[in-house]
């Protein structure tokens, strides 16, 4: 592995990791604050991608499509939280697993009814359609760099909100001890609705900005779901910092694993997760 090749793979691992972080950040927020395991998280990613596909062709602009799709995602989160999750907070994880398992079935099938079973794609927006030359025969799309920038910026924003705002203090406190937050007279109902909607919107947004980089197909959320869980568990549930480093670790492991140990490529993330939990049963940053 020469230096150029190594650097390219480093870039690939970083970009994949950053996108993973964006998808997983919503999951870890919802986990940490609300104690809810949301198996339908991958479906939210899928819906984000489909929304932006649909709206790009309706509105004629990728950017307008994203602007229009975000409120839809927030509304979806709101509806799901109010209708279904409300009764589940105090119940065993088992019920959350099952309810959101049911939601996957409903959302996947709704996707098929609305958008059909065909594979779609969204063109890379004009603004970032250029490429930079990495090696003599390998180029890198400007849009991928843009996505990295967006993910980093959002990571920064989330970090800032959690570290330096009142909301962040509540969130941090909630991740440690939910009852205490309630005891402090904070309206947990509103907080939960807010967190869940933001979590769903973050994930759907990840689907939106990833849309031009991937193919939009039925079931696209299912494969990303488990990877996100691995990221969140490795990092430590509820920890944004953990999700960030977990995502980078998994991004790098998948990228380099596929080159260095191809025979274990499909298992490598699970091996890492098992190893981490053996050493630190509550994740790296819990």
């Amino acid at each position: 592995m020469d230096l150029a090749f190594f650097s390219v793979q480093l870039l690939n691992g970083l970009q994949y990791g950053l996108l993973l972080f964006l998808i997983a950040s919503g999951l870890t927020l919802i986990f940490g604050i609300m104690g809810i395991i949301n198996l339908a998280h991958g479906a939210m990613y899928m819906i984000g991608a489909y929304l932006v596909y649909d709206l790009t062709f309706r509105l004629g602009s990728f950017w307008l499509a994203i602007l229009a799709a975000i409120p839809v995602a927030i509304a979806l989160g709101l509806i799901i939280e109010r209708l279904f999750l409300d009764t589940l907070y105090k119940r065993d994880h088992l019920y959350q697993v099952l309810l959101t398992f049911g939601l996957i079935l409903v959302l996947n099938e709704a996707q098929r009814i609305i958008w059909g079973g065909d594979v779609h794609s969204v063109p890379v927006p004009e603004l970032f359609s250029g490429r930079i030359q990495l090696t003599d025969n390998l180029q890198y799309s400007h849009y991928r760099l843009f996505v990295m920038g967006v993910c980093l910026a959002l990571a920064g924003v989330i970090y800032w909100v959690i570290r330096h705002t009142r909301l962040g203090i509540i969130i941090r406190a909630g991740a440690v001890n939910r009852d205490m937050v309630e005891g402090l007279g904070i309206n947990v109902r509103t907080l939960f609705t807010l967190i869940f909607s933001v979590g769903v919107a973050l994930t759907a947004f990840a689907g939106m900005i990833a849309a031009p980089l991937t193919s939009i197909a039925p079931g696209m959320g299912d494969s990303i779901l488990i990877t996100c869980f691995v990221v969140v568990v490795i990092g430590g549930i509820g920890s944004i910092k953990g999700a960030f480093w977990g995502a980078i670790l998994i991004g790098m492991a998948e990228t380099f694993g596929s080159v260095l140990i191809p025979s274990l490529a499909s298992m490598v993330i699970y091996l890492i997760m098992a190893a981490v939990l053996l050493v630190k049963p509550r994740g790296l940053f819990a």
């Binding site: 409300d86 009764t87 119940r91 065993d92 099938e109 098929r112 009814i113 298992m267 049963p281």
Partner: protein, 358 residues
Amino acid sequence: MLHTYPKRVVVIMLVLTAIVAIFPLWGPAVFGAQSDFMMEKMTLMLILALFAMSLDLLVGIVGLVSLGHALFFGLGAYTLALASPAFSPAAIWWMAPLVMLVAALAALVVGFLVIRTRGIFFIMTTLAFGQMLYYFVSTSRHTGGTDGVFIMFRPSVEVGGAVLLDLDNPLTFFYVCLAMVVVGYLFLRWLTRSFFGQVLDGIHDNEHRMEALGYATGHYKLVAFVISGVMASLAGMLAAMQYGFANPSQLGWHTSGEVLMMLILGGMGTVFGPILGAFAYEILQHTFEHLTTHWPILMGITIILAVLILPRGIAGLIIDPPSRASLAKSSPLRWLKPGRAAPASEAVKPAAPAPREG
């Protein structure tokens, strides 16, 4: 965990068992030419019932929610597939113990690692191990890969050359599966009432208290994990025997999710509930699939409603039937309003035995 059920539970289960057992007598009259297929379907439900029951030991009784139980189900199927000779039936005398041994070893290793984690981490680690085996089987060249593998012969039950049970006969196989479910049920009932079961129950209620009382709770959980895994592997072995086919998707997390669903639909922690749940789940899916190709929506809605309205499953209805007064109080809307959900403790596990109805 209930140690004594209202008498009607015993009566209902006995009646249902009898109805299933004499299916060959009434099946043809009710289903006509489809009777053979219905018996085959019922055989499958029995196998799933055994699978769901095995998970109940872990989820309902010890309180460990596993999202990787299909690992053992698939392991049973694949052990049978890989250990079967290519051109002759294997003897069940050594096939069943082999399956159990392999599953027990796997459960020991996996259990040793996952028992250390709790709650959500337990869910995730079991999921991870399930996925690891799933990918291993999918990509290994010895297992037939993603296409799966045929088992050309069913194991036979022979003594001194005489065939005692011909498992190729669907009727025989049906009764073998029924017997396995009955034995499995009696075993779990015995286990939960034993001293060992009492400790598990104590761990479910409050693990720290049990630790403080001097119980090595980890050991108890590990033993339960192994027993549960072994039972699941037997179900997997039967499933592979039924059609002579094993496939990696039997190991995937969707299978684990489905069996959890059967458990909750039937009512966990009751041992008999999962049996009802397996039947109910399969009948629902069977019906929905015939109604529309959009059946996953119906299935999804049913799952959601079951979680919201029937957290204690069908077994909950039998143990503690809703009285007329409580039915009047609980309009479906109540479940959609915030802040009035069922009390947590009641929902998570069946509380004290229900007052007997007069």
